[in-house]
Symmetry: C2
Subunit: 251 residues, 2 copies
Amino acid sequence: MLPKTVPTAALLIIGNEILSGQTQDQNAHFLAQRLAVQGISLREYRTIPDDEEAIIEALNALRQKYTYVFTTGGIGPTHDDITVRAVARAFNRKIERNPKVEAAFISVYPDINSKDDPRLRMADMPEGAALIANSISTAPGFQVENVFVLAGVPDIMQGMFNNLVPQLQKGPLLFTRIVFCKIFESRIAIKLESIQNAYPDVEIGSYPSWKQEEEQGVKLVFKGFNAGEVEKAFEELIKYAHESAISTRTL
Amino acid sequence: MLPKTVPTAALLIIGNEILSGQTQDQNAHFLAQRLAVQGISLREYRTIPDDEEAIIEALNALRQKYTYVFTTGGIGPTHDDITVRAVARAFNRKIERNPKVEAAFISVYPDINSKDDPRLRMADMPEGAALIANSISTAPGFQVENVFVLAGVPDIMQGMFNNLVPQLQKGPLLFTRIVFCKIFESRIAIKLESIQNAYPDVEIGSYPSWKQEEEQGVKLVFKGFNAGEVEKAFEELIKYAHESAISTRTL
C-alpha cells in the first residue's frame, strides 16, 4: 500500500511516430527514473496518437487520478502540434499569446516581422498557464494546474523537467535491495511467496533473465518505505539462498 | 481517417520495474514495428503496475475499443505474476490447469512430483483460453477472445508474437515517404500546413532533430493508404524545398 503522503504521477506520451514504431520513445524511461528519485510514484503511462480527442480524454482521466501529469510531445510550430489546443480544451480555457514568450522570440529572431510567423505559435498557451523554462531552445513548456506540458525532443524535455523539479512535492524514498540468484525463478517461488506474505509492505519483484548471451537466473528486488522491514525480508531470502546452496550476487 | 478495414490494436505493458525506472521497456517498440508491418494500427499503449485492479480496468477499457489487445508481463511462476488472475477476472472466467501444458512441463522437468510445484502455475489459464506457443521456454502465452497474453521477457515475448502472427487479420499497408530538410521546422510550417490541408488523407508528421551531436533540421514523414496521394503531397513539398534552396535528403 502506498502511504498517503506519497505523491503520484502519470505520463502522457503523445506521438504518432512512437505508435507506428518509427521512433522508440526515450522520455518515459528518463521521467520514470527521475520521478523515483524525487519520491514520486509513477502509477501509469499512456502513449497515444496526435489526436485531439484522444489527448483530451486521457488528460482528463489522468489529471483527476494522480498528483501530477506530465505530457511530452506536440508543442512545436507545425500543423501536427496540437497538444496546446487539446490541453486548453481539457481545462476549458482559451488560448492566448504569452507576451513574455513572444518578446523572447522576437529578441532571438529579429527577422520575425509578423504575428503570423509560425515561430510565434509556440508563444500561444492556455490562459493562465505558468511557463517552464527551456534551457536549449526558445519555446518554453508550461503548467496548467497539475499538468506539466513538455517538449517531445528528449534533450529539450530533459532540460524542462530539470527546471520544474524544484516545485514538485517530494515523497519518501523507497529503500531498495537487489540480489541476483543463479537459479530458475520457479525454484525460489514458494520461499519468495512466504516472505512476501510475512512482509506485506515490502514489494518483492522477481525478474528472470533469459537472454541467450546473459547469465540465466533471477533478479530479486525488495522495496519499501520502511528500511528495517526491507532489510529483514531481504536477509530472510539471503539466509534461505545460502542454506540451499544457491549462488547469489547482491547488486 | 482510418479506413474501416484497418484492424486496430492496443498494448498493455504490465510491470512495476518499468514504472520505477529500473528497467526500460523494449516490448512496446518491437510490437509497434511488427504491427505496422501487418497493417494493424496501434492506437495506444498503457504501462501499468502489477496491480490486479489496474490490469482489469485497463483490459476492459481497451478490449472493447480495439480489434486486438496484447499484454506483456506477469505470467511467470512467482507471487508477483498476477496477469492470469486479472485476465480471468476481466472476462469473468474460472482459472483451470491446462492438461496439455501440464504434461509438457512434466515431460521437460521429470523432477516435478507435486501438483503444487510452482512451475505448474504456468499451466493455469482462464478456462477456454487458446495457447500461444513459446519457442524458447516451456510456458506458453494464451489468447482469450481478442486479448493476447504474452511473456514480459523480450526474447520470449518476441517468439510468442511470431507464433501468433498468422492468425491476425492483416490490414492495408501505409505508403510512406520520408525526407530530411536541413532547416528549422518553423521555416517550413506554413507550406506544410497548406499541403496538409490539400491532402487531408495523408498524415504528415514533422520531427525536429535537436540533439547536439546530430545534424539539426527536420524529418518530414508522409503516410497514407493511397500511394498516389502520398506521392503528390510529397512531391509538392520537394518542389517547394528546391525552389527555396532548402537542402534535402530523402530517407
